[in-house]
């Protein structure tokens, strides 16, 4: 049952000669054969996974699942969209090049909301992925396939992408670790763009050590992505000390009442009771670990969702203009060029993609640009400043990852706004560029996982990884497995 292991455990066993490379792949294959029909985490599984890359690399022979919006040379990369059916990437994304040279084995592509538009993995051309903790529930999204594959032990770890919470929220729903690195930490070259000023690729793993390990491999400056940061990449695995004595942890009063007995300024309503209880208990764990918990304020919190859905859809409407039936595989024929564009995009995109492109076009259109887009950019400045001010007082910030646990498939399908509002805790990190991760911190009354989000200062991933590691090593939530 090597498929249930983490990468760092497998690497130790490989070094000691206790297991062979092929044993890992064969256990993964068996698990996929048995479980995948229930979970549907993958949109494509490489039929013949084998060790073909660098056997001496740091991730030698470790299988990894890749979200379907990350380009792998000569393989289909469809963003779970009809409009990209048959599209085979002519090059590797930079993160894929790095994984290949580290010796990782690419298992296949995972399901997602079409073009990463969604928080449930239901907006996929291939149909929904199921949550391993309850197959009637969503795995979260948009990186729902990656999170479900890791949670169900169909993969050792996976890559996702996070534009407004698309790594952290599914990690929370599936009871695994998921991290959005600082904007610019990881190259976006070869990630099919949704919102270029918000997108970041990041790890989804079974524990914090693997998160640090995978982040180290994929990070770094890339001249092919001019927004990647030209900074040294620390060895994140070396700074996991568990020692967080004196670390100052902020709890935003607008998100969550630090002291439930007194009247709070919490403006985010609708937090599930079990999520609140788990949060309160997690703060107690941190107090016991020697951290200092302080209340902070992020006064522009209530505007984050509005700002996000203006900026993200505006950027998406521009990025998705390229899917016009000319360069990529899918086209609806017509004798008229404009009509060909319209028909191709009308039937190639799903409902949520159309909704977002049209909303994005609207907020950028003449007469609305100043009222929506420009105003949103200004409020984005205010949201970023909120975090700059908060980080003058504290070293990191803790919040629930999502106000609720995994909801049922279909429950929010017809209410896009309700779906958007479930991203309330995660989107500010994308708007302000800071890193954030989600770790398991308990279960609700229905045995569905709850996630704890830790946000840090830009390019200070070491600190939040260590804060996560200290909690993880003091609890056992990350060791719980779904009963499949």
């Amino acid at each position: 049952m090597l498929n249930t292991s983490t990468a760092h455990e497998l690497l130790v066993q490989l070094h000691k000669g206790q297991i062979r490379h092929c044993d890992i792949l064969s256990d993964i294959r068996k698990r996929i054969d048995r479980i995948e029909p229930k979970i549907k985490a993958f949109v494509k599984i490489n039929p013949d996974i084998k060790i073909e890359h660098n056997v001496s690399g740091v991730l030698s022979a470790i299988p990894i699942a890749i979200k379907d919006n990350i380009c792998v040379k000569d393989e289909e990369s469809t963003c779970a969209s009809r409009i990209l059916q048959g599209f085979k990437a002519p090059y590797d994304a930079t993160v894929i090049e790095k994984l290949k040279s580290a010796g990782a084995v690419l298992q296949g592509k995972t399901n997602m909301d079409e073009f990463a538009f969604g928080s449930s993995c239901e907006n996929s051309f291939y149909g929904p992925t199921h949550n391993p903790w309850n197959i009637d529930n969503v795995p979260g999204g948009s990186s729902g396939g990656s999170a479900a594959a890791v949670s169900a032990d169909e993969s050792i770890f996976a890559l996702g992408s996070d534009t407004g919470g698309s790594i952290r929220q599914p990690a929370s729903f599936c009871g695994v670790v998921g991290m959005k690195p600082t904007y610019g930490r990881v190259s976006r070259y070869g990630l099919i763009a949704f919102a270029s000023s918000l997108d970041q690729i990041g790890p989804i793993t079974k524990d914090v050590s693997d998160c640090a390990l995978l982040l180290k491999v994929i990070s770094g400056y890339d001249k092919k992505d001019s927004t990647s940061a030209d900074l040294q990449v620390p060895d994140y695995t070396k700074t996991l000390t568990k020692n967080i004595k004196g670390v100052k942890i902020g709890v935003p009063q607008e998100y969550f009442p630090i002291d439930s007995s007194r009247k709070s300024n919490t403006i985010i309503e609708g937090i599930d009771k079990d999520v609140s209880i788990a949060m309160t208990k997690a703060l107690d764990v941190y107090r016991d670990l020697g951290a200092k918990i302080c209340e902070i304020s992020l006064p522009h919190t209530e505007y984050a969702v509005s700002v996000y859905y203006i900026i993200a859809t505006a950027e998406a409407s521009s990025n998705l203009a390229r899917f016009d039936g000319v360069q990529y595989a899918f086209r609806e024929d017509s004798s008229d060029l404009i009509d060909m564009y319209k028909k191709t995009r009308g039937s190639g995109f799903g409902q949520e993609a159309k909704r977002r492109i049209i909303l994005g076009t609207y907020v950028l259109s003449h007469g609305y640009y100043d009222a929506y887009y420009l105003r949103a950019l200004k409020v984005r400045t205010l949201i970023k400043n909120d975090f700059i001010n908060a980080f003058k007082k504290v070293d990191c910030i803790i919040t629930p990852t999502s106000p609720t646990t995994a909801f049922r498939i279909g429950e929010r399908a017809d209410n896009p706004l309700a779906m958007y509002l479930s991203d309330i805790f995660t989107i500010s990190a994308n708007l302000s560029g800071i890193p954030g991760l989600s770790i398991p911190c308990g279960f609700d009354r229905n045995n569905l996982p709850i996630g704890l989000q830790i946000l840090g200062k830009a390019f200070e991933e070491e600190l939040i990884l260590n804060v996560a590691f200290a909690y993880e090593q003091g609890t056992e939530w990350h060791l719980k497995k779904p009963n499949l």
Binding site: G86, S306, I357, P403, L417
Partner: protein
């Protein structure tokens, strides 16, 4: 989540007051924007989308309450200026690779419906 949604639907007093001053998005507006975005919508889609967009726009209109006087717009979180590379020829994808995924191609070109009469 029903809690959050009901908040949005009911709105607070300020929002209800504001709502009168913002034109609802009509089907005609949605059709116009869909044309700009080169997306064909059938009539059911148009009706549904108009209602959903109206809800979403009403929600995002809360931005009107924020005082943004003197605030600079944030286009990018990193402190980056224009990034230039030296003007040198570097390897790029061969033509057949670029064309490989296209629906129709001919003699090294993308093929599209006739645009000149």
């Amino acid at each position: 989540m029903t809690f959050l949604v009901s908040n949005v639907i009911l709105g607070n007093k300020l929002e209800s007051f504001e709502r009168k001053f913002y034109m609802a998005i009509s089907k005609k507006d949605v059709q116009y924007v869909a044309d700009l975005a080169r997306i064909k919508l059938d009539s059911d889609e148009l009706t549904k989308l108009s209602l959903q967009l109206q809800d979403i726009l009403e929600y995002i209109n809360k931005l009107k309450n924020v005082d943004v006087t003197g605030v600079e717009p944030e286009t990018h979180v990193l402190d980056l200026k224009n990034i230039f590379r030296s003007d040198l020829l570097t390897p790029s994808l061969p033509c057949q690779e670029v064309l490989r995924n296209s629906h129709q191609k001919e003699e090294g070109f993308f093929k599209i419906p006739k645009v000149i009469e």
